[in-house]
């Protein structure tokens, strides 16, 4: 049942992404509405899917890698709604939805294999996963907005007019939102990862066992820390911060990939 709901949600997201991109490039406001409605419908299905999965399996629905990715998407879309509402940035979903889809397309298969054995998890690990998950969702948005920033900046420098000239938000707004999403995501990520490190000895016996996901996480955390520090020092704003957001996100993808496909302590 939950797998069917996931499929429906994912289909709605795919259509919404197409509509959002169409509205940006083809300059059709109606399509933007279609995109919004589809995203909302998809998100409701998604919520139902997560809940039914929890009920059907009789445990919290974020214990496997696929489940975590699914919830990152869920939270990222929620955050996207919030930012679009607050900042009135309509085309945001045209950038965020494709990113989300890139994350989500591997999901249905992962979610169908419910036979995955899940080791007994301590309460701290549940908190670790939940915090990291919220952090990652904010960073997905961070990436989408950084992408918009770079496009906007390039278009302004090159003095080109076109779809982006009219429909992208002002450069400063985008810069502010890149910082904003990072500021939201970073504390969650930091505390979440720290909890992971602290509870690792209890779960695995030793801290120093090689685990690809843990390693990538560390690199990712360092990049985001550097971005934030650079910003605080007042030197790395605008374009540079956007490049860092993109680098950080690439490592984030690699991290999730490592979690999903490489065998380590986080399971697969």
């Amino acid at each position: 049942m939950n797998a069917v709901l996931y499929d429906v949600a994912l289909t709605a997201y795919i259509l919404a992404a197409a509509a959002a991109i169409g509205s940006l490039v083809g300059r059709r406001d109606q399509l933007a509405w279609v995109a919004l409605l589809l995203t909302q419908a998809g998100w409701i299905c998604h919520t139902a899917a997560v809940i039914t999965r929890g009920v059907e399996l009789g445990r919290l629905p974020f214990m496997t890698m696929a489940e975590v990715i699914s919830l990152v998407i869920w939270a990222a879309i929620l955050l996207d709604f919030w930012i679009e509402r607050r900042s009135r940035i309509r085309p945001l979903s045209a950038f965020v939805l494709p990113v989300i889809l890139a994350l989500g397309l591997g999901l249905p298969t992962g979610l169908r294999s419910i036979a995955l054995e899940t080791p007994v998890r301590s309460g701290w690990i549940v908190v670790h996963v939940a915090l990291v998950l919220v952090g990652l969702a904010a960073l997905v948005l961070n990436f989408g907005i950084a992408l918009m920033y770079l496009l906007r900046e390039r278009q302004l420098k090159a003095k080109r007019t076109g779809a982006f000239y009219r429909h992208l938000p002002p450069l400063e707004t985008l810069d502010r939102l890149t910082v904003g999403t990072l500021t939201i995501g970073f504390p969650f990520l930091t505390v979440g990862l720290a909890l992971g490190v602290l509870s690792a000895p209890a779960a695995w016996g030793s801290l120093l066992t090689f685990d690809p996901l843990a390693l990538f996480s560390l690199v990712m955390w360092l990049i985001y820390t550097a971005t934030l520090l650079g910003r605080v020092m007042g030197q790395w704003g605008g374009r540079r911060a956007a490049y860092f957001a993109i680098a950080g996100f690439c490592v984030l993808l690699a991290t999730l990939g490592a979690g999903a496909f490489l065998h380590g302590r986080h399971g697969s």
């Binding site: 420098k157 003095k159 007019t161 002002p170 450069l171 400063e172 030197q235 374009r239």
Partner: protein
């Protein structure tokens, strides 16, 4: 009262008539009021209004014979300056019915303007309508036409970008500033030089909330004068470099033969600004800002050619949007036609109701007179009885009339009902071609 006249538009605009003729016909309000009163007094037109701007002179009216009405209207307009109808005839276009409605909608929505999408025309049409209303020459058809036209113009303004994109250099500068900054409120502006276009751009920025404004010029007195005009502060010319780091937007329009803002200066200013962007609008020729400034991170520099190409792109976009607006207006014409058809049956409905009401009252009075002992109670019952009979009998014909107007063959039914109930005068024949 039944007004089966045809809606028509007769007029000349910047495309059909040279300014030498248009200016002869452009009359002040009092004269137009006279013309309106005179025209409706002659009985050729049921309703009439006149739109007179520097780019167009148009008569919107309802008349049994639009051709005659048009000749009369332009003859009357031309008579003020001794222009005869035969001189004007080749310059005047005439459209009727739905085409006329579409024309009016296009005018109000500024699709027919010289500068596509310019906002003044809607206000001018509104004024013209108000004038006709106060002169008592606007009737139900023009009312319906105008309220539909104003609604349609508003839709075009909000649903398309016909009027939204900047089509002048100084407005383009503001538009660009708003692509960089998150709103212009509280952004500091530096105006360098006293060029007219620079001052205009600075003024537009101020209108959008930019503040404070610094003004500098080689001639100190001129800087002070400009600062006064813009509500800003004059800064000595040798302080230019220091002021760069205080502002968000720099507008330059001096006659200097060499750049007066160098890349090195801007680099220093940017360091002080940390990561906030700095926007240069260089309207001067030769340019006042070194072009390489645009290559610095967080600095954006647009020269006059860049601004002009933004304007050109916007004009093209407005034309593309005009096509969308046209489709929207065509839909509005269909709605208007429906409204007009409903309007057609209104006079019949009103006179039918009036006629029956007169009969009812008379019969009621007569009956009451024959019952001298009747108290208040009896009177009330009889009143209610007669009212109920009238309503029940009229119900079916009313519904039929309204349905027929929706279906578009109201004419047959209004005539039939007028005949059947002997309403005042059958509708005029051959009026709606």
């Amino acid at each position: 009262m039944t007004s089966p006249g045809t809606l028509f538009v007769a007029g000349m605009n910047h495309r059909t008539a040279p300014v030498a003729v248009r200016e002869q016909l452009a009359l002040e309000e009092e004269k137009i009021r006279e013309v309106l009163a005179d025209l409706s007094g002659r009985g050729l037109l049921d309703e009439v209004m006149i739109v007179s701007t520097c780019n167009r002179v148009e008569v919107y009216g309802v008349a049994a014979v639009p051709g005659e009405a048009r000749t009369a209207a332009f003859g009357r307009l031309g008579s003020h300056r001794g222009l005869a109808w035969r001189d004007l005839e080749p310059l005047v276009y005439t459209v009727t019915g739905e085409e006329a409605a579409l024309h009016v909608f296009r005018v109000a929505a500024s699709l027919d303007s010289m500068v596509l999408g310019e906002p003044q025309i809607l206000g001018q049409v509104k004024d013209a309508f108000a004038l006709a209303q106060s002169a008592g020459t606007a009737g139900p058809v023009l009312h319906a036409l105008m309220s539909q036209a104003f609604g349609a113009a508003k839709r075009v303004r909000t649903e398309t970008e016909v009027g939204r994109l900047a089509v002048s250099v100084s407005h383009a500068a503001v538009e660009l500033a708003r692509k960089i900054f998150d709103g212009l409120e509280g952004r500091a502006v530096l105006l360098v030089g006293a060029g007219e276009m620079g001052e205009l751009a600075a003024r537009h920025l101020v209108d959008h909330g930019a503040l404070p404004v610094y003004v500098t010029n080689r001639t100190w007195s001129r800087a002070q004068e400009l600062a006064r005009n813009l509500g800003g502060t004059a800064v000595p010319f040798d302080q230019l470099e220091a002021t760069l780091s205080l502002v968000d937007i720099v507008v330059t329009s001096t006659a200097a033969p060499e750049p007066i803002v160098t890349t090195a200066q801007v680099r220093t200013a940017l360091q002080a600004r940390r990561t906030r962007p700095l926007f240069f609008i260089d309207i001067a020729v030769p340019r006042n800002v070194e072009p390489a400034v645009n290559d610095l991170e967080n600095a954006f520099c647009y020269d006059i050619d860049d601004l002009r190409s933004v304007v050109e792109a916007n004009l093209k976009e407005r034309q593309r949007e005009a096509l969308r607006a046209q489709a929207l207006l065509e839909g509005e014409v269909v709605k208007f036609a429906g409204r007009l058809r409903q309007l057609e049956v209104v006079p019949t409905i009103v006179s039918l109701r009036e006629k029956i009401e007169v009969i009812r009252r008379a019969e009621l009075e007569r009956a009451i007179a024959r019952l001298p002992a009747a108290g208040e109670e009896t009177r009330r019952v009889m009143e209610a009885l007669s009212q109920a009979i009238v309503n029940k009998v009229l119900h079916a014909p009313m519904v039929k009339l309204k349905d027929s107007s929706r279906a578009g063959h109201a004419r047959r039914w209004t005539e039939m009902i007028s005949e059947l109930f002997g309403l005042r005068g059958p509708a005029r024949p051959d009026s709606r071609e």
